[in-house]
C-alpha cells in the first residue's frame, strides 16, 4: 500500500479512536449536527415536494390548456364556450375537451376547507375521444365516465376522497346538495390531481351556476406527431387581436358566484371571493375598462344577475371580433406542461426564500454549535496536542488530526441527519397523504451529507488552528 494512503488510514483510525474514546462529547456534537441537517432536509423537502408534484402532475397532462390569461389555475378561469369550435378547427388539434372547474364546498354534510376538493365537469363525449386521460388511466376500481353517463349524476372520484368519506363503488356521495353515485375510483398519484370529483359538465355547470356560454378552460390534445409548440403558436395566432370584452372576466364571475353560493355556505363564498381577489387581480386593461363602463353609468356589473359576458347573445355565438388596435394582449393563455411547471416554480420562489432563511438560521446554529463543541474539545485536549507536538508531530499533522475528527463528526451528522430527515418526510407523507407531499431527492441527501462534512471541517478549523500554533510546552502548561 502506498505510504501516503497508509498515513491517511492511520490518521483516520487515530481520529476515529479519539472520537470513540470520548463517546458523550462525540454524541452531543453528533446530535447537534443531526438536528440541523435533518431540519435542513425537512425544509428543503417542502420545496422539492412541490417541484416533484408539479413535474409528476404535468408529466401526466401532455396536452395544452387554453384558459383565461393570468388565472393561476383553471378554477379561477372563465372563457367563452364557443371558442372551442374555433380551436377544434385549428390544424394539429385532435380533441378539444371543454372543462368546468369549481370547488366542492360541502361533501356529505362536511365543509371541505382543507384539503380542498374540486368538481371537475367533463364534456364526456369529447373525453371519450382523448387518446390519453390521466383520470381514465388512473382507474383503480369501477370504470371511467363515458358519453353514456351524460345527463346522469354518476361520478368518478379520487381514492383520497373515497377513503376520506368511506365510500366505495355504487355508493352515493352528497356533494353541494346533489347525490352523486360513485361509478369509479381513480388514483393519479399526484397531490394536485387526486382532489377531484369528476362529473358530467352540465351537472357541474348547474352546481357551480356557470352558464352554457362559459367554460373554465379547454384541454387540447394535439394530433399524433403534431408539434406542441407549433400548435400553441397557431392557437395564439387564432386569438391574437381579439377584443377581451367578448368574454366574462373571472373576477366578476367569482364575485357573482360568491354572492350566489353564500346562500348555501357563507364561508365558501367568502373564501372564493378572497381567492378570486388575491389570485386573480384585475389587469390594468380591465381596470381601465371598468372605469369607462362605470363612467357610462351602465356597467354590466351594476346590473344584478347579469354578467358582462352574457349580455345579449352568448359570446360563443358572436362572430369573433378582431380589433388589434384595442389590445395586443391575448384574451387566452395557452399553457403547455412546461409552462405549468414554470408557473408553479415562480409560485414557489417566495417559499424557497423563506425556506432558505429558515435553513440559514438552522445551519448557523449548527455551525456555532460545532465550533463550540470543537473548541471545548480542543481546549480540553491541549495537553494531548502538546504531547503529540513534543513527540514530533508538526502543526500541520495536529491540524489534520483535528480536521479529520471534525470531518468525521460532520459526515456522521450528515448521514444520520439525512436519514432522519428522509424518514421524517416519509412519515409525514404517510400520515397526511392528501395534504402534503415532501420529497427529499437523492441529490438533496447527498448535498446535505457534503454540506454537513464541510460544516464539520470548518467548525473544527478555528480551534485546530489555535491548537496547532501553540508551542508544545504552552499547550501542556495550558492543559
Amino acid at each position: 500500500m502506498p505510504l501516503r494512503t497508509l498515513q491517511l488510514r492511520r490518521m483516520f483510525r487515530f481520529a476515529l479512536k479519539n472520537l470513540l474514546s470520548r463517546p458523550v462529547r462525540s454524541l452531543l456534537a453528533l446530535c447537534g449536527l443531526t438536528v440541523a441537517i435533518a431540519g435542513m432536509v425537512g425544509l428543503f423537502s417542502v420545496a422539492e415536494g412541490i417541484e416533484d408534484t408539479v413535474s409528476t402532475t404535468f408529466g401526466k397532462v401532455p396536452g395544452l390548456t387554453v384558459m383565461q390569461p393570468g388565472a393561476p389555475i383553471p378554477l379561477f378561469s372563465r372563457i367563452p364556450a364557443g371558442w372551442g369550435d374555433e380551436i377544434r378547427a385549428v390544424k394539429g388539434v385532435h380533441v378539444v375537451h371543454p372543462e368546468v372547474w369549481s370547488r366542492a364546498h360541502v361533501i356529505d354534510g362536511k365543509p371541505t376547507i382543507s384539503p380542498p376538493r374540486f368538481l371537475f365537469g367533463s364534456d364526456l363525449k369529447q373525453a371519450d375521444r382523448l387518446r390519453y386521460s390521466v383520470y381514465r388511466e388512473g382507474i383503480k376500481e369501477g370504470r371511467a365516465l363515458t358519453a353514456a353517463d351524460r345527463g346522469t349524476h354518476n361520478a368518478l372520484v379520487s381514492r383520497a376522497i373515497a377513503e376520506e368519506f368511506k365510500k366505495t363503488i355504487g355508493e352515493t356521495l352528497r356533494v353541494d346538495g346533489r347525490d352523486c353515485e360513485i361509478v369509479g375510483i381513480y388514483e393519479a398519484q399526484s397531490l394536485f390531481l387526486d382532489v377531484a370529483i369528476i362529473l358530467d359538465i352540465d351537472l357541474v355547470r348547474s352546481m357551480a351556476r356557470v352558464g352554457p356560454e362559459s367554460v373554465s378552460n379547454f384541454y387540447v390534445e394535439p394530433d399524433q406527431g403534431a408539434d406542441r409548440k407549433q400548435l400553441a403558436d397557431s392557437l395564439k395566432a387564432l386569438f391574437r387581436g381579439r377584443a377581451p370584452d367578448s368574454w366574462q372576466p373571472a373576477q366578476a364571475l367569482a364575485t357573482e358566484l360568491a354572492g350566489q353560493k353564500s346562500e348555501g355556505n357563507p364561508l365558501s363564498g367568502l373564501i372564493e371571493t378572497l381567492g378570486g381577489a388575491l389570485l386573480n387581480p384585475p389587469s390594468k386593461a380591465d381596470a381601465a375598462k371598468a372605469d369607462t363602463e362605470s363612467s357610462d353609468g351602465d356597467s354590466p356589473a351594476e346590473r344584478p344577475g347579469v354578467s358582462p359576458g352574457t349580455l345579449g347573445e352568448a359570446p360563443g355565438n358572436e362572430p369573433p371580433r378582431r380589433d388589434a388596435g384595442l389590445t395586443a394582449e391575448l384574451p387566452v393563455e395557452i399553457r403547455s406542461p412546461e409552462d405549468w411547471a414554470g408557473e408553479f416554480k415562480r409560485f414557489s420562489q417566495d417559499l424557497d426564500v423563506f425556506l432558505l432563511l429558515m435553513t440559514s438560521i438552522g445551519v448557523t446554529i449548527a455551525f456555532v454549535g460545532i465550533v463550540n463543541t470543537m473548541l471545548m474539545s480542543v481546549t480540553e485536549r491541549f495537553i494531548e496536542f502538546g504531547i503529540l507536538k513534543a513527540n514530533g508531530w508538526s502543526s500541520g499533522e495536529v491540524l489534520r488530526l483535528i480536521a479529520f475528527e471534525s470531518a468525521l463528526l460532520g459526515l456522521a451528522g450528515g448521514i444520520v441527519g439525512s436519514i432522519v430527515g428522509w424518514i421524517a418526510t416519509l412519515v409525514i407523507n404517510a400520515h397526511w397523504p392528501t395534504r402534503i407531499h415532501l420529497y427529499a431527492s437523492p441529490s438533496l441527501l447527498l448535498f446535505s451529507l457534503a454540506f454537513s462534512t464541510i460544516l464539520g471541517v470548518l467548525g473544527g478549523l478555528y480551534p485546530a488552528l489555535r491548537a496547532a500554533r501553540m508551542m508544545p510546552m504552552d499547550a501542556i502548561r495550558r492543559g
Binding site: L6, R10, A390, P472, M473, I476
Partner: protein, 221 residues
Amino acid sequence: MIEVTGVVKTYLRGSTEVRALRGLTCHIPPAALTFIVGPSGSGKSSLLYLLGALDRPSSGEIVVQGRSLSQFDRRERDLYRRDQVGFVFQNFNLLSNLNAVDNVLVPYLPQGVSRERRSEAEDLLRHVGLGDRLDHRPSQLSGGEQQRVAIARALLKRPLLILADEPTGELDSESGAEVYRYLRGLRDEQGSTVVVVTHDQSHIQPGDNVLTLRDGRLAGA
C-alpha cells in the same frame, strides 16, 4: 554536545511575568547522564524544555551538535523533536485512548507505522517488562508501568538526546530505581545523552554530570 549560552526565559503566569532563566550558560557533555538539580522554581524544567525545543528562549542561544536551535525552522524543529529527542515526563503524558503499543508509536503515527516498527515497539515494551500489557490502555497500567511505556516511547526512536523531567516523581523507590536502570542502559548501549531534572539526588552516581540551578542561573557544576 550541548552549549547553552546566556539563555533567558520569561513567561506569563496570568498577568505575572515569571523569569525562569536569567542568562544561564552551561555545557552538557555527550553520551553522559546529566542531572539538573535545584530548588523548585530554579528553572530546571524550563531549561529541559528549551533543550528539547518544546519552548523558545526569550534570548540567548542553545547549540546542539553544532546547530543553533533558534535557527531551526518549524519543520526542522518538528523533525528534531521526532527523531532526535526522547521525552520522559513526570506525569508520563501518555494518550489515554491508545494502548501501550500505540503510545510507543505516537511519534510515527502521522507517517504511518510499518510492520517492522510495530514489532520493534512490542519488543521494547517486552524489554521494559510489559510484554503482557501490550494492548492495555494507560488507565489499566500502574504508575511505574506507565513510565516504562513512556521510556519505551523515548527508546524507539534511538534518540541522540533523552530528556527526563522528574521521571520518578510519581513512582515508588523500586520503580524509580528501575527507571534509572533503563536510562543508564540507554546511555551505555546507544551512547545517548541523557538529561534528567530531579529533586531526588539519591540516584546520582559518581561520574554523573550535575548542574545545580538557583534562581535561573547556574549555581554549580
